[in-house]
């Protein structure tokens, strides 16, 4: 099948192996700082997986996903500081709280579409932001610092950055496999159907609202898990995790990467985070302008994002094979 074909088929494995081996080079070939960057990419990638199920596959654009990320972050902060440093309990707590919030808010939001959905989710996430911005117990606008490092409960020390790298990578891989499974299932196909033609799917006997609620719930849980990891890694939390600009960034990462492909948003996440870091160091006074220009260019010339670009290249490729 030739070298490029080999690349295409095993690209997932190749990337995974690279990621697994990466930290070993950190500190020697490559600075340890990049381990941190990758951890950030993994954490946000997790949010994007769930988010893509809701927006890419289900067609509901949420501008409020910071509320799940933030809830996971704050719940974990509380648990780590006052209850136990076990990451498993924190994960459980985050999942539970986000599921609860996801069901309640999802139930209220799910009947709305498009722009209305955007505004509703925005408004709800603002509640959370304003709430935690004023809540003294959680440090109000300054947030909480001095949160103890999480513990794995056996063998490894999660406080070590390399260990945390593998842990978050592991969770990302599990999350991805789960998401892939969901998306390939009948439920996943129903979601796509809803996005394309909601009425028709309803006529086929699917309970549209329930499907969307489940999608919303799934995306909420992914967000919560990511938030938990974020606090576990940062050891502090501030209302910035609830800010609407975070929701906007999540949306952009999905859009840029390519909605509805699962892989696309992961690439989008890596792209935005890496680029943001690189640009803000290189052009610290004008990086926002450059980033904004990049978004505009991508939206104008490749609205299906990076995955769309790859698909086009692929199509050219297949053309060549067909000759």
């Amino acid at each position: 099948m030739g070298f490029p074909g080999f690349l295409k088929k095993y690209s997932g494995w190749i990337v995974l192996v690279c990621l697994l081996l990466f930290p070993l080079s950190a500190g020697t070939l490559v600075s340890g700082f990049y381990t941190s960057l990758f951890i950030r990419i993994f954490i946000f990638g997790l949010v994007l997986l769930g988010f893509d199920i809701l927006m890419g596959y289900g067609g509901r654009p949420s501008f409020g996903h910071a509320m799940f990320f933030g809830t996971g972050a704050y719940v974990s902060a509380f648990l780590f500081k006052y209850v136990t440093s076990s990451i498993w309990i924190a994960l459980g707590g985050s999942i539970f709280s986000c599921a609860l919030i996801g069901i309640v808010i999802g139930y209220l939001c799910i009947r709305s579409h498009g722009l209305y959905f955007i505004f509703l989710t925005f408004a709800f996430s603002q509640f959370f932001f304003l709430f935690f911005h004023s809540w003294k117990f959680f440090g109000a606008a300054d947030g909480m610092s001095g949160i103890p490092k999480p513990t794995l409960g056996f063998l490894f020390d999660l406080g070590d950055r390399t260990v945390f790298y593998y842990f978050s990578l592991g969770i990302l891989v599990v999350g991805y496999l789960l998401a892939r499974h969901i998306v390939n299932s009948a439920f996943g196909r129903a979601l796509v159907g809803i996005r394309q033609n909601e009425e028709r799917i309803a006529f086929l006997g699917f309970d549209v609202h329930r499907c969307m609620l489940v999608a919303f719930l799934i995306s909420a849980i992914y967000g919560g898990v990511a938030g938990c990891l974020f606090t576990g890694y940062q050891n502090f939390v501030s209302p910035a995790v609830y800010h609407w600009s975070l929701s906007g960034e999540i949306l952009i990462m999905d859009l840029l990467g390519g909605m509805g492909t699962l892989i696309g948003p992961l690439i989008g996440t890596a792209f935005v985070i890496y680029l943001g870091d690189f640009l803000s160091s290189w052009m610290h006074e004008t990086w926002l302008m450059v980033l904004g220009a990049l978004y505009v260019i991508v939206i104008l010339f490749s609205p299906e994002g990076i995955m769309g670009l790859i698909k086009k290249i692929n199509a050219l490729w297949i053309q060549k094979d067909a000759v």
């Binding site: 722009l115 408004a123 304003l130 302008m289 220009a293 505009v296």
Partner: protein, 287 residues
């Protein structure tokens, strides 16, 4: 709350609202006709404010700046629309929304680059400085001016939209773009002009806000989010709704600060959620 305090808060709420009217109504026009949620609206207002500041620095007076600034911003908006928004018509509105998000970032950073980071102010015209009194309540003259000016401008726009031929074309365009096109009217031109008009109005709002408050490189985000909330509450695409939404925000902030200090910003979002859930078309359905 005493009657005196009630009226004071009412008056102040209307003040806050009138500052927002121009932003909200121009946002609403753009959305109503073009279907675009212009996230860069606040940035264009900010640009208008900075331009006004520069014009006054170059020794022009307030009123001249109030006219020239929107003209410049309007022209710029036409260029922006032609190069960036136009290719996206007919495509996913989400893409348009994010395009304007990117534009907001660009304009915001450009403003910082050219004008620097210090906050500035626009001096009010001498005639309008200082306080006056309304029914015994002390009220700044300039804010009274803003209230009257915004109201007059809103009424003029309203009349334009409802009574003139152009206005009818705009409203017809909201409902059925192709049909209007079939009448030989070039909708693309209409869109460009509407975007320019909306942006020019935003610039006017910017200059006025610059005199009423201050001009700083971070003012755009707050303006656009408040504007969007007002438009949502009032009704997406409804001009009257936007004006009403602006007042709802003003009143809820004013009374909220008095009744639930620290939670005043909540009230706005509570109203927003309530409207979106029970009456998503907004408080006023038609234009």
């Amino acid at each position: 709350m005493s009657v005196d305090l009630f009226f004071t808060n009412l008056l102040y709420g209307l003040t806050i609202g009138s500052a927002l009217i121009l932003i909200a109504s121009s946002l609403s026009i753009i959305f109503g006709v073009m279907g675009v949620v212009n996230f860069a609206h606040g940035s264009l207002a900010m640009l208008g404010a900075y331009l006004g500041y520069s014009l006054i620095l170059w020794k022009m007076n307030f009123w001249v700046a109030l006219i020239i600034s929107p003209l410049v911003v309007g022209a710029l908006a036409m260029a922006i629309e032609g190069f960036t928004l136009r290719p996206l018509y007919g495509k996913d509105p989400l893409l348009q929304f994010f395009l304007t998000y990117g534009l907001a970032m660009i304009i915001g950073n450009l403003v910082l680059y050219f004008w620097g980071s210090d906050p500035h102010g626009i001096d009010k015209p001498i005639l309008l400085q200082g306080p006056t009194s309304i029914a015994g309540i002390i009220y700044p003259k300039f804010r009274l001016f803003v209230f009257i000016f915004s109201a007059v401008l809103a009424i003029v726009l309203w009349l334009f939209i409802t009574r003139t031929t152009w206005g009818i074309i705009l409203r017809a365009g909201i409902h059925n773009r192709e049909l209007v096109g079939a009448f030989g009217i070039n909708m693309s031109t209409v869109y460009t002009l509407v975007f320019a008009l909306g942006s020019a109005l935003a610039a006017i709002a910017g200059v006025i806000l610059g005199a009423m408050r201050n001009i700083n490189p971070a003012m755009d985000l707050d303006l656009v989010t408040s504007g969007l909330i007002a438009v949502v509450i009032g009704g997406l695409g409804s001009f009257r709704g936007a004006v009403l939404g602006a007042f709802v925000i003003g009143l809820s902030e004013s009374f909220g600060a008095q009744l639930w200090p620290g939670f005043s910003k909540f009230t706005v979002y509570i109203v927003m959620v309530a409207i979106l859930l029970w009456r998503p078309e907004g408080l006023i359905k038609e234009v």
